[in-house]
Amino acid sequence: MTGAREGEPVVSAQGLTKTYGALSAVDHVDLEVGAGDVYGLLGPNGAGKTTFMRMLFGLIRPDSGEISVSGVPVQPEPRRALAEVAGFVEAPRFYPYLSGRKNLELLGRLDGGLRPQRINEVLEVVDLFDRRDSRVREYSYGMVQRLGVAAALMRDPRLLVLDEPTNGLDPAGIRDMRNLIHRLVDTGLTILLSSHHMVEVDEICTRVAIMRRGRLAYDGPITELRAQAGRATRHLDTTDNHVAVEVCRGFAGVEHVQLDGPQIVFDADEATVERLSRELVHAGLGIHRLHAPTSALETLFFRLTEGGTGTPTDEEAAA
């Protein structure tokens, strides 16, 4: 990075705060992204991820605190600080009346000039080369997302910032985008990626920060988070849930047991679930259904971001 010293974090935020009236969108956030990190910024919608990224890009000014890139404060020197940063905030946007290629040409000019061959290269990377001369208004949502990645890659960034890159994509689009990010990770780029999907971050990132109502609820290596996760939330339905709930409550390793309508909800790790299922059968109960609607990491994510039991709603589980 421009002006970066060895060991210096690529992104450093200290006491970063942005409020809108009574709402604290980002509330005294301290965060560091190291060189080579694939850093996941997790949180539900409205947690402050996008506001954080807008401040990183200099699009909005913090009320207090500072964010710097490679030691250069974004305010008041956004151009110098962001010289080797690229990416997009929320959905990437382009001029719909121009082709994808024309859009990239104009953006290349704003970067101080660009080899035409480089445009072709990045269009090939995101699989849009064949549609390069179609107007952007004819692109699908997923194609625009990929064009956003192409526009970012054109800058040959050292830090790539992607704000919910799979948001709004269909399953095939999500798969393609994740594959693309995996390939970019392999190139050694430092990546800051926001998401509200724990599985996505678990799959891609080396470090993770979880935001809740503008504050950091967790910041550390993903491996540490996995170690903390341990127990996933389980849903159990048996031939007699009133008897089963008593069995669960008395079983070692089973926590947060509650009868929730037609099912029992509890937290337990894999080994405990295996033993519990045998115990339930031994107690003469038939098991209709026993499953984990979310992974252990997701359970922890919901607990950290909602401050509740860690049991997701059906909508969250479906998401």
């Binding site: 421009t2 807008r54 890009f57 200099g58 699009l59 909005i60 000014r61 956004p78 151009r79 110098r80 962001l82 010289a83 080797e84 940063v85 690229a86 990416g87 997009f88 905030v89 929320e90 959905a91 990437p92 946007r93 382009f94 001029y95 719909p96 009346y97 121009l98 024309k102 104009l106 953006l107 000019r109 704003l110 970067d111 101080g112 000039g113 290269e121 990045v122 090939e124 990377v125 995101v126 699989d127 990929r146 526009a151 890659l153 800058r155 040959d156 393609d176 594959n179 693309l180 390939r183 970019l184 392999d186 190139t187």
Partner: protein, 290 residues
């Protein structure tokens, strides 16, 4: 997606990235303007309109006698650009200024593309002045092109008979006549720039393309209505429509430039105030949309 390694073929960066200045943004903005179908269509219509107008006039018995130079439309080809000028100063020039300039900032809000361009190697200052320059060059360029089209249409369809000034003097020299027509058209550029600046200011303040186009036109109409009133002259002279008619003094006998010179000052004040407000607001705003 392909598995090409293009993403990994990063060129070693040995020097700081080149940053784009207002000149680069100017070029990009001009390309964007020309890339819009509506701009090309409107420009084509405006350039063709004088030709249709003079051809229709030549095929009818009546002349627009109530319009200055209307009575000379079949007498000299130089009357065509002058009639177009008289008509355009009423409402067309403010509309052209608003059409091109009233959208140049707010369209980025509508498309959500401010975040796209402001995350490249370009400062807000460069974006602002690049856009302002592109809007003014496009507006001025289009008006000059309309004047040239009208002049050529008149000369081709009617001929280069002697030009008649506002002071009723005949100008037999074709070159001199072309110079006087050009002088008249160029004299409307300062207030035109003033209207374009108002349009850009409204575009920045409202972030709305419709308002960016409509508000300057409404302001122009209100000014025009005041001009028709037998009201306070000091106010009349401070309105942008006043210098739009300063060319009459330049073509009178004897000619007088006082309205033109006063119009220069008035236009400069409108331009400076509108662009200063626009710059301050643009530079300080948060980019939340998109």
């Amino acid at each position: 997606m392909t598995t090409t390694s293009a993403a990994t073929t990063r060129t070693p960066i040995t020097t700081a990235r080149t940053t784009a200045g207002a000149g680069t943004v100017f070029g990009v903005e001009l390309r964007k303007l020309l890339g819009q179908t509506r701009t090309r269509v409107v420009a084509t219509v405006l350039l063709v309109a004088p030709w249709i107008f003079i051809l229709l006039v030549l095929h009818q018995d009546q002349l627009p006698l109530e319009t200055l130079y209307g009575r000379y439309l079949k007498t000299t080809g130089f009357a065509t650009p002058m009639v177009v000028l008289v008509t355009a100063t009423q409402w067309l020039f403010p509309l052209i200024a608003a059409f091109i300039s009233g959208d140049i900032f707010s369209s980025e809000d509508n498309y959500g593309t401010y975040k796209t361009i402001l995350t490249r190697s370009v400062s807000r200052r460069a974006v602002f002045w690049g856009k302002v320059t592109a809007a003014l060059v496009a507006t001025v360029g289009l008006v000059i092109a309309i004047g040239a089209s009208a002049l050529i249409a008149g000369l081709v369809a009617v001929g280069d008979q002697p030009f008649i000034t506002v002071g009723n003097l005949e100008v037999p020299s074709t070159a001199h006549a072309i110079g006087m027509v050009a002088e008249s058209w160029l004299s409307v550029l300062p207030p035109l720039i003033g209207f374009a600046s108002i349009a850009m200011c409204v575009s920045v303040l409202t972030r709305n393309s419709v308002l960016g186009v409509v508000v300057p036109v409404v302001i122009g109409l209100v000014f025009q209505m005041y001009m028709f009133l037998n009201a306070w002259d000091t106010v009349r002279h401070a309105l942008l429509n006043w210098p739009m008619n300063a060319w009459r003094g330049l073509l009178d006998d004897p000619s007088y430039a006082e309205p033109f010179l006063r119009g220069l000052v008035v236009s400069a004040i409108y331009t400076a105030v509108a662009l200063t407000i626009a710059y301050v607001v643009f530079h300080r705003r948060d980019i939340q949309e998109g």
